[in-house]
Symmetry: C2
Subunit: 231 residues, 2 copies
C-alpha cells in the first residue's frame, strides 16, 4: 500500500486536469469527496488543491467549489539572481568594474519610476559594468535614494557592487520589474563592446522600503542574452 501525501494528491489532480478528465470550465469534486476517494484527509486534499490554485491551474471559491479555469493565466516563477550568481551559474568567472559615481539630481524619468513628484534632494548615480570571463556582460545604471540609505555615500563601491551592498544592507519591502528591449546608445555600446543600435535585453527594477523608494536600476545585457524561466 502506497502512502498518500499532498504531493501525490497534487500529481493526481494535475493528471486529471491535463488529461481533461477534469475538463476546462468544469467543476471538480469537493474536497471531502476527493479525500474519501483518494483515501486521505481533507486537509491533505486542501493543501494539494490550494497550491494548484496559487499556480493558476485551478479556481477555488467558497461555496461555489473548485473548477478548472477556461483561460488559465500561467504563472512562471522567475528566479532573479544577483548578477554574480547568474554569471557563476554559467560556469564563467565574475568580475565587476565601477565606472562612475556621483551625486546628482535625478532626471524626470527616474523621478517617475521612484514616484517622486520632483527631485527635492540629490541622489547617488552609479554606473558599473559586470563582466563574465572578463568580457562585458551587463551594464548597470542605478540611482540610489540618499534619504533612505545615506550610508551608501560612504561605501566603497569599487569593492562591492551597489547591487550586493543594497541586498545585504537595505531593508526592502516591495519591488517591481519590467523587461524590455532597447537599441544600444553610443555610450552603452562602448561599454558593452557591441555595435551602436544593437538590440539589448533590459531589466528595470525599482525597490521600496515601505513607502520610500530606495533605488531604481536599469540593467542592459549584451546582445544575445536570454533570461530563462520554467513553468
Amino acid at each position: 500500500m502506497t502512502i498518500i501525501t499532498w504531493q501525490s494528491v497534487q500529481a493526481e489532480a494535475l493528471r486529471r486536469i491535463r488529461s481533461r478528465e477534469w475538463p476546462p470550465g468544469g467543476q471538480i469534486p469537493h474536497e471531502a469527496d476527493l479525500a474519501e476517494e483518494l483515501g486521505c484527509s481533507r486537509g491533505t486534499v486542501n493543501r494539494a488543491l490550494r497550491d494548484l490554485a496559487e499556480a493558476g491551474l485551478l479556481e477555488r471559491r467558497r461555496k461555489a467549489g473548485t473548477r478548472v479555469p477556461l483561460n488559465p493565466v500561467r504563472k512562471a516563477t522567475l528566479e532573479i539572481p544577483i548578477i554574480r550568481q547568474d554569471v557563476e551559474g554559467r560556469g564563467q568567472s565574475y568580475n565587476y568594474r565601477l565606472l562612475s559615481t556621483r551625486e546628482a539630481t535625478p532626471p524626470p524619468e527616474i523621478c517617475e519610476k521612484l514616484s517622486l513628484k520632483k527631485p527635492d534632494a540629490p541622489m547617488v548615480h552609479v554606473l558599473a559594468l559586470h563582466l563574465a570571463d572578463d568580457a562585458p556582460f551587463c551594464l548597470e545604471d542605478r540611482w540610489i535614494n540618499l534619504q533612505v540609505v545615506p550610508e551608501i555615500a560612504q561605501t566603497d563601491l569599487t569593492e562591492i557592487s551597489a547591487n550586493e551592498w543594497l541586498v545585504q544592507n537595505a531593508a526592502f519591502s516591495a519591488g517591481s520589474f519590467a523587461f524590455g528591449a532597447m537599441a544600444a546608445p553610443e555610450a552603452t555600446a562602448k561599454w558593452l563592446d557591441c555595435p551602436i543600435g544593437a538590440p539589448l535585453f533590459t531589466l528595470d527594477r525599482t525597490t521600496w522600503a515601505a513607502a520610500l523608494p530606495i533605488t531604481s536600476v536599469r540593467l542592459c545585457y549584451i546582445p544575445g542574452y536570454q533570461m530563462r524561466a520554467e513553468i
Copy 2:
C-alpha cells in the same frame, strides 16, 4: 485581542527580516518558540515560514533550523497572460490576424528547441499578428507538432488563435520560457510596422506533453513593449 492568523505571523516575520531584527545569515527562533511567543500553534508558524522559504526569503533545513539567507535569490512571479488578456488588460481592443499556415519540415533551430534529433515529420507552421486597437502588437511565429495534436490541421485558425486553441485543447505538462531581444528582420518589421533593425522584446516558449514536444513559439513585441512583474 487580535486573532493570530498565518498571514499575521508571516507579516511579523517579514518585518523582522526587513528590519534586520533577524539579520542576514542569522538563525531565527524555532517554530515552537515562535509559536509560544506569538501565541499560536506550531502549524500556523510553519505555514507562515514555509511560504517565506518558498519565496526565497528564508532557508529552512530539518534539524539545522531556519535562517535568513545572505544572498537571497529573489523569486518573482510572472503572470504570462494569453495575449488577448494582455491587450484587454491595457484597456485596448484585441484583434487577431492569421498571416499564413503551412505544413513544412521545421528548421534545425526549431528541432533543437523541441529536442528532436532530426525532423522526421512535417509540422504546422503558423504566422499570426496580434493587434491592439487595430495596431500591430505582437508577431507570433509558431511550430506545432502534428504527431501530438493532429486535430490542429483541421482547425480554422482564422477564428481562434493557435495560442488559445492549444491552451484550451492540448494537455500539457511542462514548459520553458526565455526572454530576450532581437533586431527586427525585414519581414517582421513590415508586419509590426516598425523600422528594420528596431529592438524587439522576444518571448520564446516551448511546451511539452510528457516527453512529447507540442509547440515552440516566438513572440516578437512592438518596440517599447515591456513585460512587468512584481516581487
